[in-house]
Structures are given as structure tokens and as C-alpha cells.
Amino acid sequence: MADAESIPKSLVVLPVRDAVLPFFDRVHGWITTVDHKRLGIMYISYALMFLIIGGIEASIMRLQLIRPHNDFVSPQVFNRMFTMHGTTMIFFVAMPVLFGFINYVLPLMIGARDMAFPRLNAWGFWMTACGGIILYFSFLAGSGLYGAGSAPDVGWFAYAPLTAPVFSVGHSTDYWIVGLLISGFGSIATGINFVTTIFCMRCPGMTLGKMPLFAWLNLVTGSLVLLALGPLTAAQIMLLIDRYLGGHFFDTRAGGSAIVWMHFFWVFGHPEVYILIMPAFAFITEIVPVFSRKVIFGYPIMVAASISIGFISMSVWAHHMFTVGMTSYGNAFFVASTMAIAVPTGIKIFNWLGTMWGGKIVFKVPMLFCVAFLFQFLTAGLTGVMLAVAPFNWQLGGSYFVVAHFHYVIVGGILFSLFAAFYYWFPKMSGRMLSEKLGRLHFWLFLIGFHMTFDFMHIPGILGMPRRIYTYEPGRGWDTWNLIITIGVAFQAAGILVFIYNLFSSYLRGEPAGNDPWDAWTLEWSTSSPPPDYNFAKIPVVLSRRPLWDIKHPEDPDWKYE
């Protein structure tokens, strides 16, 4: 057991260095950095840029669908938009922004001076960055189905054989493959780094059982990255072989199998959902206790639930394939595994509820987003259970109901938790608070927009509207819903603009944050804002899961109970 006296000394930190260098030297410093904090900020900025691009693509689709027989864009452009929107949002927004936050916060939270492999970390970022640039270069250099396109237009899961050379003439599909292949290498490197850092870089006293849940959840994230990105990478290489070296893996005209691509893609694709939601859970699990002023409820159960979600998530992929004609036994297996994952997920929601129960909840902006997350993730989980019912899925799969469901997960769950994370950790990253007033405006605009768009999007799905159609007939009962959905997008866009403005204006003129603006309990709040190079003047030693609680409450420290 470490000496309790040693803790306060670890809190002595150096003042922030801010040597004023010439502009070019500062840029050079960022490009060549291996510092986890700078890489984290670069990941986040890069993802925000793509968030705006992906958002514009979504808005173009919504304008086209605002009324039946609309003539805003051609089918070719529409098909490129949904392909690029999906690919961008998953691979170049959600993953990098989450990796950015984990990169920034994880070493600070476990009392480390950097990630385990700082250079690999930088390599991972630059691979991801290059992947995005290559994908978007296709707008200039690619051409798509029937040689008519200029960007990938095969859908974000690029089902075979639409990707075969005979159907996807030109190079847009190649840009898609190579872009994802390269960013996939970067993600695998980052996954290795997360797992190694969590296992090897924890500060003295932080046993696995005293590690913040943030680290546990992202241990699962990192492990899933290692398991899931491999099949995607393999499939992309096989597809390249098909397209250029006369391979027949997926080319059905030469005896290949379209189903094999589906399996490869979803063996990656479903764990990918959990790669994205685990960091979101991690944010919620850190933020909810701080703003409820209570310790997390049921720490060991939360760990167990996270790990079992990780395991089960590897065996549910074919619930994306209920309509491909699997046998009744095959379908039943994936119904069972998919429903099983609802149990540990439910346990997490109940434990967050248990954390708030009996607390003194402070409704600052991060907590507003967390509370919205809880309600929305509950709904998203339940529509997920409906879709897990294979016969129900035969109706709802591939319809707007599915689109509504996964946007409920990704926007209502992941993006809301990310906004919470922005408001919560921005003060640590910049040394300044984000404006509470603008934050509330952002919250309400985005909340209204989100619900207008994605609540109502379930209905056209129930009314038989398939996804990925650029136009539709009047008289199907879809018109009004599509109009409301599109209006919601305007509110969401307004919310995002307020958010971006808030980031810039608060960075320049925000209220100084101090070390610990939220009166929080994990190690990142013990160092200065922003933290100095190498984070801690002296490596901290911890006795419990909430080291700062122990310091603030010496009469009633956590380590007495754990």
C-alpha cells in the first residue's frame, strides 16, 4: 500500500509553458509532435472538419427528399452523397474524434506521461488523416457506376457485386477501398496503443480494480479495434485483388460470393458500432458521477457489463443479414445473441440511473447532454431490440426505420455524449471554459433538431419507405414525415454552428478554467489546464478509483470502502 502522504505532492505542477515561437516553427512543432495531447487535439479538429463536410452531404440528401419527385440533385449525386456521408461519419468523424478524446484524456487519467508508443500514436493519426484525404480526392479523380460518378457511390457497406469492375467502372471505388485501408492501419495502431497503455502505463497504486471506468471501457474499445479492423482490412485487400488481379472472392460473375463480403464487412461492422459506443459510455460514466456528486454505482458490475458487451458484440454481426435468406437456425442464433447484448447494455443504463439516484444533480451543459443521452440511448436500445426480432426485421430492415435507429445510436447516443465530453474536457485542453449560455443554446437547438429528424424518421420506415432512394412517389403517406425530418436538419445545423462559434470564441475569450473547474475526482484534474509537457511533474500515486476525492475528503476517503 502506497504512502497516503505522497499524494498531495503529485499535485504540484509546473506552470504552462508557452514559448512564443515563430509561426512556422509552431506549425512544424504540431506536424512533428508525438505528444498525446497535441495528437488528441489534431484528431478532434480533423474530425470536426469532416463533421461539417458529412453534415453538408446529409443536408443535400434531406433537401432532395423534402418532397416527392423533387429535382434538387440527380440520382447519381444522391448516391454519392449517402455513400460519402456514411463513410465520412463513421471513419473520419466518429472514430477520429473518439480516438482524439481517448488519446488526450487516457494518459492523464491513469497518471501516465504519454501513451505507451508515442511515435506509433503519431503514425496512426497521420494514416487516418491521409485516408480521409485520399477518400475525398476521389471527387477530383474518381468516376463511379457506369463511369458517371466522381465519388464512391456504392453505399458505405459497399455490397458485392456492385463494387465489381463491371458495375463500378472507373476509380471511385478504388479511392474508397484505399482510403479505408489506410485509415484502418492507423486505427489498428491506435488500438494497440490503447490496450498497451492501459495495461502498462498506469501510475503506482492504480491496480486494474482501481482504474477509472473510462480506462476499462476503452480497454474494450482498443481490443475490439484489434479484432474488428482486421477482417475489414482483409476484405478491402481481397476486393482490390478482385478488381485488379483477377481474383474471384466477391465477383459473382466469376463464381464469387456476395454473401462472403457481407460476412466480412459486418464481422467488422457490428463490433465497429461498439468501438464507437464504448468511448461514449466512457464519457457518460465519468461525467454523470461528477455532476450527480456521487461515486459511480456498481463499479465491478459496470466492468463486467463492459467486457461482456465486448465479447457478445463479436457474435451478432449477421443481424445485419436477416434478409439474405439464412436458415431458420442461423436466424434464430443471431436473434438470441443480439437480444443477449441488450442485458449488459441495460445494466449500464440502470447503473447510471443508480448513480444519479440520491445525488445532487448539477445541470451544467455537460450533464444536460448526458441526461439527453440516457433518454435517447434507452430509445435506441429498444428499437434495436425490435430490429433483433428477425421477422420484424424482414419488414423494417433496409427501411427508414433502420436509418432512424442507427442515427438514434450514433447521433442521439454517441454525438450527444461527445458534446458532453467537449464541454467537460475543453477547459482542461484549452485552459478556458466553454460559454455556458451558448452551450445551452446549442443543447436546445440540437435537441429539438435531433428529435424532429430522427423521431419522425421511424414512421416512413413503418410505412414501407426503403433507404437509399433518391426520390419517391406521392400517395404513400411519406410526404409530411419527410418534410418534418428535413426541417429538423436546419435546427441541428444551427446547433452545430453555435457550437463551433462557442469553441472559437471561448478559446479566445473564455473564462479561465483553473485546474479543476468541475470539482471532479480523477487525475486529469490534478494537473494544470492545459497540462504541461509530460503531464505530471511527479508521477502520482493513488489509493482508490477517485484519488482527488480522497484528497478533498480525507475524513472519508474512498479507499476505506473499495
Binding site: G256, T323, V335, A390
Partner: protein, 327 residues
């Protein structure tokens, strides 16, 4: 089970609602979905109420003393409760689901079942009736099925190019058409009428206008339709339009039985005028639309694989007149 109120007002009045089933597969799914919806609504209401209660009740009040609330680290009893109850719910849901999967996927078919083979093409549907030796496109005719003496239609699904999905929500859930693979589904529509649907798996540029019409007929009407479709030899006269048709690229892709047009890349046109729509539902089958379609298919369906035939205006009229005779 009582139908949901919102279902009747919003959902059931539309032609492709999954909540107005007219065939056994769609109806089994509908009943199962109501059961699932009721359970999910129960969970939603319970958890929503608890969440709402906790954020309202436990918010920090005005004039708070600033002391931290009691720190509760967990409770094994509570954790056990909220693990076991969801497990039980999942078991119930799974059993209900497995029952319907088995009933629909492993169904046996009575004699008198109509066999149809559907072949998906970019961006239209080919329908083959092996029992009757006839081929048509885009509008599927099937006999009505009396629930007491069912005469279902068994559908074999194939694809000529990319993935497609056959979805007519009021009759059954969707099943994909995948190249190099044989899939199956079945329907037994309980009422005559027209049921609409469309391709539900992205298949390329014109996925949106790969629409489906299923025309459910009484047995007498269906038999009459079959007999009409089997007649092929009535076109003894040669028109200018037919001559143009048979001497241009039209015959590379289209079949007209009894002529030298044997193409299979596009829809069979032998009985074109027995169909209500052209371009797989892209436009009504009228003389003007037909002429416009032959002149430039992209007018109705940008990205359709049929090329504009670049015919002179008089030739266009003649071909249209010829097509109009294909009753």
C-alpha cells in the same frame, strides 16, 4: 390484440404500411411486432419514468448546503434484480421470435401452390411462371388465397446482376435477391387488389425506381390472365413499327414471342400493353409515355440501362404504334 390507436389513424391508411397486413407472412410479423412493441413500450415507460423521476427529484436545489450527498458504492441485490428481469424478458422475446421464424421459413406448401421465379435486374423485375411456361415483367399476377383452403404463391428469388430485395410490405417481409444464390419466400394474399412495393436493397443508380406491383386476382381472373399471356401467334401482320423494331438494337435486349426478338437483357414485351406501368413503375403505360420512353428512357428514369434509340420522329410514332398492339 387491440390495434393501436395511432396505427389506425396514421399507419393503416397507406398502401405500403407494415401494419395493414393482407397475407399470412405479413400478418404473423404484424402480430409478433405488436407483442414486441408492447413489451418495449413497457420497458420504455418504466425506465423513462425512473430516469425522469431521478433527474427531477435529485437535482440540486436552491440554497443547497454544498455538502456532498451520501456516497453509495452499489448494491448486489439491486444489480441482481436488474440483471435477472431483463434476462427473463429476453428469453420470452426470443421464444416468441423463434416460433414465428420457424412458421414462416420452414412452412410446407399445399398442392395448388403457384410457383413464380423472380429475377432481379438493374432496375426491373422479371417474373417467370414455370408451371405455365410464361414470362412477364414488373407486375406480378398471383391468385388470391382463401385462408380456409390456402393457395399460396411460392417465390424463388434470383438475380441477374447485383443484389436486390423483394419487398411488398402488406404481403410479406423482404427477402434479398443475390447473384449465385437461390432464395425463397411465399405469400398468400387474402384479398384481391393491387399491392405495391419496391426494391429494398441498394442496387445502383436507379434503385429508387425499381418499383413492384402485385396484382392479386380471383382464380378465374388469374386463369384468364394466364391464358392471354400464353397466346403468342396472333401477330401475323407486319407493320412499319414492327419492321423498325426487328431491324434495330431493340431485339438485342427484348423478347416478343412469335417474332425474331429474343433478347433477355430487358423486359419481355410480348404482352406489354397488359401492364399498367412502364419502366418498372416509373410511368403509367400510356401512348405518350411509351413514345417518350423509347425516345429517351432517362426522361423518366435517369440511369436506366436502356439507351435512347435515336429514332426519327416518324419512326418513333411507328414503333409506339407497334408497341401499342402488344396486348
Amino acid at each position: 390484440m387491440a390495434r393501436l390507436a395511432f396505427g389506425q389513424t396514421l399507419v393503416e391508411s397507406t398502401p405500403t404500411s407494415i401494419f395493414s397486413p393482407a397475407s399470412t407472412p405479413a400478418d404473423s410479423i404484424y402480430r409478433l411486432s405488436l407483442f414486441v412493441l408492447v413489451i418495449c413500450a413497457g420497458i420504455f415507460t418504466t425506465v423513462f419514468t425512473l430516469l425522469l423521476y431521478s433527474v427531477v427529484k435529485y437535482r440540486r436545489r436552491e440554497g443547497d448546503d454544498g455538502r456532498e450527498p451520501p456516497q453509495i458504492y452499489g448494491s448486489n441485490q439491486v444489480e441482481l434484480a436488474w440483471t435477472v428481469i431483463p434476462v427473463l424478458i429476453v428469453v420470452v422475446l426470443f421464444l416468441a421470435t423463434a416460433r414465428v421464424i420457424h412458421a414462416l421459413e420452414d412452412a410446407r406448401f399445399p398442392t395448388g401452390t403457384t410457383e413464380v421465379t423472380v429475377v432481379g435486374h438493374q432496375f426491373w423485375w422479371e417474373f417467370q411462371y414455370p408451371q405455365h411456361g410464361l414470362i412477364t415483367a414488373n407486375e406480378l399476377h398471383v391468385p388470391v388465397s382463401d385462408p380456409q383452403h390456402p393457395t399460396p404463391t411460392h417465390i424463388t428469388l434470383l438475380s441477374a446482376d447485383t443484389d436486390h430485395s423483394f419487398w411488398v410490405p402488406r404481403l410479406a417481409g423482404k427477402t434479398d435477391l443475390i447473384p449465385n444464390r437461390i432464395n425463397h419466400m411465399w405469400i398468400d394474399p387474402h384479398e384481391t387488389g393491387v399491392y405495391v412495393g419496391q426494391c429494398a436493397q441498394y442496387c445502383g443508380t436507379q434503385h429508387a425506381k425499381m418499383l413492384l406491383r402485385i396484382i392479386v386476382q380471383s382464380h378465374a381472373d388469374f386463369d384468364r390472365w394466364v391464358a392471354e399471356q400464353r397466346q403468342t401467334s396472333q401477330r401475323g401482320y407486319v407493320t412499319r413499327g414492327r419492321q423498325i423494331f426487328e431491324t434495330t438494337a431493340c431485339i438485342n435486349c427484348h423478347t416478343i414471342a412469335g417474332t425474331n426478338a429474343h433478347g433477355t437483357f430487358g423486359p419481355d414485351l410480348t404482352h406489354l400493353m397488359s401492364r399498367e406501368t412502364i419502366g418498372s413503375g416509373a410511368a403509367l403505360n400510356t401512348a405518350e409515355n411509351l413514345r417518350q420512353w423509347v425516345q429517351n428512357p432517362n426522361h423518366f428514369k435517369p440511369g436506366a440501362l436502356m439507351p435512347a434509340m435515336q429514332l426519327e420522329s416518324q419512326d418513333l410514332d411507328a414503333v409506339t404504334d407497334y408497341l401499342l398492339t402488344l396486348k
